[in-house]
């Protein structure tokens, strides 16, 4: 029983060296089961990220330079930054508001309906690229069903400047995956709303409006804001849909980077793509920092 004796000695030395040593040892030991996960993250996430950050600071001769970043904010690149951010903000806003309404309406349906909606949402939230683009072309394109139907009803969609292939058109199409993503992520927050709150508010003489204003909004606001930021990040990084719809002609960040990567690169801009990618991460990091701050100051949840 020698180790029992040793342990007893440690227990006696409470708070002193030996015990705090054990505690630190405990922290490391408690990390062991996380090794597979950390190794996976390290190799498949941290490692690639380190590489683009490194390359974004190199010129063609592998010397350190900041020139790549200077280019990022000039000319077509600077412009595309603005277009991308604007498009993402608008589609996140529409998606968040519409998605919140839909999630709220679905709350009142039965168990199986909600399951079906969740499953459907997870498919729709992942739609993108050619399938999504062609669905909208088939509906709202010059030959599309909706276009024809509207024409038949006397409204020529293409009479004015409408086109599906503009920034506005792309925003509209993005809603098709933004709204389901909102429904998917916002629903659990709504499900956590206790019916008792509503009942308490009513019995204390509150109107539906006071309930909404005083209880629902304060409780849900953090979840709403953080999900909106998530939608922003989602739209900001969307590539496949924009590419399928505009064949890369719209000035959007992901499309420009894609063009650079795809090969038709002017020699001295080899690492510009890396710098642009890092800039995109930078924007997302700013957004996600807000997300983290919002979460921190909203501990009222649950």
């Amino acid at each position: 029983m020698s180790h029992v004796v040793a342990e007893r000695t440690n227990a006696l030395n409470k708070g002193a060296g030996p015990l705090s040593y054990i505690r630190r040892g405990g922290a490391l030991v408690s990390l062991l089961p996380l090794i597979p996960f950390l190794a996976f993250i390290g190799y498949f996430l941290a490692f690639p990220l380190a590489f683009i950050v490194r390359d974004s600071f190199l010129d063609n001769d592998k010397h350190f330079t900041l020139h790549n970043f200077a280019l990022c904010f000039q000319g077509v690149y600077g412009h595309s930054f603005l277009v991308s951010v604007r498009l993402s903000v608008i589609s996140a806003f529409i998606g968040a508001v519409a998605g919140a309404f839909i999630a709220h309406s679905i709350m009142r349906t039965g168990q199986r309906t909600r399951r079906a909606v969740a499953a459907t949402s997870s498919v729709l939230a992942n739609t993108g690229g050619v399938p999504l683009a062609f669905m909208f072309i088939a509906s709202f394109g010059a030959q599309g069903l909706v276009t024809k139907l509207l024409k038949f009803l006397g409204w020529d969609l293409y009479g004015g400047s409408f086109t599906l292939f503009s920034a506005a058109g792309v925003t509209f199409v993005y809603c098709f995956f933004q709204i389901p993503l909102m429904v998917l992520i916002f629903s659990p927050a709504l499900e956590n709303m206790k019916p008792e709150w509503r009942e308490a508010s009513d019995s204390l003489g509150g109107t539906p409006f006071t309930y909404f204003r005083r209880i629902a909004i304060p409780v849900l606001f953090p979840a709403f804001l953080s999900t909106s930021l998530l939608l922003f990040a989602n739209a900001f990084s969307a590539y496949a849909t924009a590419r399928a719809m505009t064949s890369g002609t719209l000035p959007l960040m992901p499309l420009l980077i894609g063009n650079l990567v795809d090969g038709n690169v002017i020699a001295n801009e080899k690492h510009l793509g890396h710098a642009l990618a890092v800039c995109m991460i930078g924007v997302s990091v700013i957004v996600m920092t807000i997300y983290a701050l919002v979460l921190r100051y909203s501990k009222v949840k649950k």
């Binding site: 996976f40 949402s121 739609t127 399938p131 098709f176 389901p180």
Partner: protein, 257 residues
């Protein structure tokens, strides 16, 4: 509990239904058009089946989806269960790490992967699965975390342990069945992503079903629309059957993903 839907609820749901279903119906109508745009028929679908690479690429993507789902379960379930038990002190850090892929646009990630691990990526297309695990991580983490928070995990694990079960037995026999809907959610997400993912596949020069659709679309618009309908409706049916089809033994948990 089932409450009555108000008129406003119906209006919202009707609008949503229209927004999501009209493009699908339009696409279906479009896909049934003949060459002259007048006659309707299944000619476009026959054309798809005749295309070279249809079956092979579909199979590739299906296998990618299966491998991704398995990897997600193997990696994420034990990790998150552990974070809910002994490793609680690491939870905030791991949670943060799992959010990082949201911050990294897929296109940036693709560039990083291409630069950092050129050799790894040349061996086989199925290695894309590892990258898909990373890309879906924010969502799969969340689904599983919510599921585990909704059960008295510690009590169940201790009860199982004192009944003589090993940790592996406890995971498989007790924990995983208890969070089945959360696991389903994580599987939907990873399968849906793997079936539709385009950016990584195309930038890393692999052929999957989505990139194949993209190539085919260049030559035949009608065929491409038919393919879009096929892939979307197909994925939707699969997920719907898994979600609603089998009557769940326990109805107290909500499907959250």
């Amino acid at each position: 509990m089932k409450r009555r839907l108000s008129a406003g609820n119906y209006l919202v749901l009707l609008c949503a239904f229209a927004f999501f279903v009209v493009p699908m119906i339009a696409a279906i109508e479009f896909s049934l058009r003949g060459d002259q745009g007048t006659t309707h028929g299944l000619s476009n679908y026959r054309w798809i089946l005749a295309q070279e690479g249809f079956g092979a690429n579909l199979f590739t993507s299906a296998r990618l989806a299966a491998i991704t789902a398995i990897l997600v379960l193997l990696l994420m379930v034990p990790t998150i269960v552990y974070l809910h038990l002994g490793g609680a002190r690491w939870k905030r850090i791991i949670e943060f790490i799992c959010l990082v892929p949201l911050v990294v646009p897929v296109i940036s990630y693709a560039m990083g992967v291409a630069t950092a691990m050129p050799i790894f990526l040349q061996s086989t297309v199925y290695e894309l699965s590892f990258l898909y695990v990373i890309v879906t991580m924010p969502y799969t983490y969340r689904a599983l975390d919510v599921g585990l928070s909704s059960i008295p995990l510690l009590t169940l694990v201790e009860a199982s342990k004192s009944a003589g079960a090993t940790m592996r037995q406890t995971l498989v026999l007790v924990v995983m069945p208890s969070i089945r809907s959360a696991i389903n959610g994580a599987i939907f997400l990873s399968v849906a992503l793997a079936l539709g993912e385009f950016t990584l596949a195309v930038l890393l020069h692999w052929d999957t079903f989505p990139t194949w659709i993209n190539n085919v679309a260049q030559s035949n618009v009608l065929g491409a629309v038919s393919l879009s309908v096929f892939s979307l409706v197909g994925a939707w049916l699969v997920v719907l059957v898994v979600a609603v089809g089998p009557k769940s033994k326990h109805s107290d948990q909500n499907q959250e993903a």
